[in-house]
């Protein structure tokens, strides 16, 4: 089992969500977060404030957490990669982290492991 954490641009949330649904990945957790990578000061990050372009230092991002069995890792990653890029790939499009997942428990039934995902 793996835990896939993706940090993406907020405007790509719907596209990523729909791509995941299309790939039959339906169990996801979405949260707001802020942060930056190399994007700081880059063109892609500009916002307008009363007509002046500014580069904010912490940017709003969206974080997706998806727990999945090993067979679904690559499907999930490809769906996110395809949907989260701006114009085929720009600075600030985000990152995907994959970590080993020790256990998973469904609260309703108490099931554990792969079956609970």
């Amino acid at each position: 089992m793996k835990l896939i954490t993706a940090v993406i641009q907020p405007d790509k949330l719907d596209e990523v969500r729909e791509a995941l649904l299309a790939a039959d990945i339906t169990r996801i957790t979405v949260s707001r977060c802020t942060g930056h990578g190399r994007a700081q000061g880059g063109v892609a990050t500009e916002e307008l404030y009363r007509g002046q372009s500014v580069a904010p230092n912490l940017l709003p991002k969206v974080r997706l957490d998806i727990a999945c069995n090993d067979a679904f890792v690559e499907i999930t990653v490809q769906a996110i990669l395809k949907a989260a890029r701006h114009n085929g790939g720009e600075i600030g499009d985000g990152k995907i982290f994959i970590t080993p997942l020790e256990d998973c428990i469904r609260i309703r039934t108490g099931e554990r492991g792969s079956d609970a995902i």
């Binding site: 907020p10 405007d11 790509k12 719907d14 596209e15 729909e18 707001r32 802020t34 500009e46 916002e47 307008l48 230092n57 912490l58 709003p60």
Partner: protein, 448 residues
Amino acid sequence: MFVFRRLPGLAALMVGLSAAVACAQAEVVEPTVVHNDSGITSWMLTSTALVLLMVPGLALFYGGLVRTKNVLGTMMHSFSAMAIIGVLWVICGYSMAFGPSVAGGWFGWSSDYFLLQGIDASELEAGIPEYVFAMFQGKFAIITPALIAGAFAERVRFRGYCVFIALWSIIVYNPLAHWVWASDGFLFNMGAAGAIDFAGGTVVHISSGVSALVCALYLGRRRGYPGTAMQPNNLVLTLLGAGFLWVGWFGFNAGSSVSSNLATAQALTATQAAAAAGGLAWMLIEALHHKKATSLGLASGILAGLVVITPAAGVVTPGGAIVLGFVASIASYLAIQIKNVLGYDDSLDVFGVHGVAGITGALALTFFIRDAWWADAQASSAGWGVMDQLGVQAASVGVTVAYAAVCTIVLVVLVEKLVGFRLSEREEKAGMDHVLHGEHGYGLLNLN
């Protein structure tokens, strides 16, 4: 709107002109001096401000109902109307609406009113400076196209929207206002005492409601509608907006008496009674239908009550106003149920509330008119009765519906082909705030 007459010779009587010129012109043109009535003027100034308050009220009302990614884009629709129509009204809107009829009565025009240059020292017979009347009317012109925006919320380009409301205001609103409110407009003079549209049931609500339906049908549904939940981002804003609208509506209706007397009080009372009755009715309907009264339902009922009383506020009794409020909420509620069955995406129910309650009010008011009005009508046309007036009301509704629908379909196709109206699929997914305005609505969750 009450009859008013402009006094063209008044400028000549102003202090600062030479006495000789004043005497010569006063004898020839206008022997009576109109005195300013500071009581009426101050109420009309207040009303003008109150009606403007409805526009940010509408921005909050609509803004709260859309998804988070579209909150600013939606509020911009209302706010940009203040900027766009605010300029157009001064340039040509007032002239087209309230100038003498030209083009066979299609609209009005007077070069005196172009840029309002000829009314700098003009006082109306009602006792207010003409500037006050022109600005009061300008607020109605601003809010009307802004109402339409709810029908195509979350899916239009800002540039296309700006062009659309500018053209709609010139081609649809100004002629309609001329027909209904100008003293030489043909609906103003229809039947024994004219088609009754006190504060804009046809001009404002039916025209915007019908145009909204046309736009929603032509531009199509939002992506994912109706299968995907599209929850309001903040109903707190919506309720705040509904409150602003209710308060502002006292200027809208009671101000439309262009006086500060008994007629004003009658309009204010009818407005209050109908709004409350509309809100109460919607709460009861939802309590019966869903076992829960919702805040959005209450706000919608208040709005339906305010819309239905808009054409009627000057002529109906308080009891009639309560009945109209109830009928409006029932009609609007049914209209929204029917919309859900038909599946078209009038996103914020502009037709369901403004169109349906507006038509309901314009027709049903006939049954609740106070006796004094009938006495006046029968004095000018003996035997004038309910069915006669209902015919006049139906004619004014029919004319408005047909004119607004035909002009809007032409305009919306034109704007879509020439400027681009509907957002692309990618842009719609990303949201209007990011794509069109380069901003986001809520910064509170950021850590810095």
